[in-house]
């Protein structure tokens, strides 16, 4: 229990720092930034209490907001993603999730890709809706969501590949 707690806590801190200090300064083509910190929500252990993950996601989003001066948009997007995570897990992994035996290292790649893509798209849609905060700029919102999502998904997949190999 303790080692799990420390692993998650250090992952939390490392992801926040990497997001704020590196991935927010990429500004690819002027405005496209990947948001890789949602790795934390995606790979939070499944068996844990649902309330815990909603609460921790809120604080994760809020700490990103603190650094970026963005009010509460990351917190809102994170809380929403954490809340609908079981639905996404069920739709991507099906039976494995139902039996509560899911391990992210062992699932096949297609399921993992669809899970991460759904999660990232949801998160980014909420994020950019709240950031732009105007109905008249729907096109801009969708455009930002799409481009940032592609960037984030590629990076998250890369990171998971790199780190899962190290563990073996």
């Amino acid at each position: 229990m303790n080692s799990l707690f420390f692993a998650q806590a250090s992952r939390f801190i490392i992801l926040v720092f990497f997001q704020v200090l590196i991935f927010n300064h990429i500004n690819f083509l002027g405005y496209i930034n990947p948001y890789i910190y949602i790795l934390f929500i995606a790979f939070f252990p499944v068996r844990n209490n649902r309330m815990t993950i909603i609460l921790i996601s809120f604080f994760l989003g809020l700490s990103i907001d603190l650094f970026l001066d963005t009010g509460g948009i990351h917190a809102a997007a994170c809380v929403f993603t954490a809340y609908i995570r079981p639905v996404l897990l069920k739709s991507s992994f099906g039976m494995i999730y139902e039996h509560q035996t899911i391990r992210f290292n062992t699932v096949d790649f297609e399921a993992k890709l669809s899970y991460i893509s759904l999660l990232t798209l949801t998160h980014h849609l909420i994020l950019f809706c709240l950031e732009i905060f105007s109905i008249s700029k729907v096109i801009l919102t969708l455009q930002k969501t799409l481009f940032s999502s592609i960037f984030s998904i590629i990076l998250i997949i890369l990171i998971t590949i790199i780190f899962s190999k190290k563990m073996k």
């Binding site: 704020v20 200090l21 907001d65 650094f67 970026l68 509460g72 929403f80 950031e131 700029k137």
Partner: protein
Amino acid sequence: MQQIINFIIRNKNFLLFLLLFSISIVFTIQSHSYHKSKFINSANFLTGGVYNSVNNISNYFSLKYQNNLLTEENNHLKSLLYNRTEKDSIYIDSVTFDNQYKFTSANIIKNSYSLSDNILLLNKGANDNIHEDFGVISSHGILGIINETSENFSTVISILNTTSNISAKLKSSNHYGSLKWNTKDPRITQLVDIPKIASFKVGDTIITSGLSSIFPKGIPIGTVHDFKLDNTENYYEINVLLFNDMTNIEHVYIIENLNLPEISNLLNGNSNE
């Protein structure tokens, strides 16, 4: 009563979600309205400290460029100083010392230009006598207005922010408008509400108007890039190409208008009557 408690226990996840989601929405709405982001801002001990220590390292990478900028500005100021014609015979008032504007230099330790509400972080704060509503400029033109301050840091509402609204005018005439940003391009801002009667052409200079009592009159902003009439066909909407490269700034100056308390006092007193 039992039923209510049962309901709460059964839906505890959803209720927690609703609670936290609405808290974040409140923070978001606060951040979208001017001067309201009281709780969540980066001018605090933790985030300011982190950005400061990272900036200590990263500013070495742009030293050459920043040095060039400063030399250029020094050059400009020297040329102003030595080309000034001496007026020995004219009475020079050396007794009074009530300059209207006070300048403080600062460094930007967090820059941002890809969001729709961009906020910068400076390494000067309340300890250096910096307060809300002071103007911030660089050697090339205006940057924004101070929003929140802590002891050692302050946040700046950049001109690249949808809530930013700065009074500006054409250099060649006295037609005023307000400077806004449509979030599309960090090099271009929009000057709206210039009357149809004003005459100008592409390439004309836009400067601050001095009406807002935050910025002195005549600080350069940019040049006219292109323009069109707005929907009502009574006002021009001008795209202003900024002098500042907002993506690469480091040394800035904070302007304090020493008459600001008096002016705002007067204005508030009048509006109360």
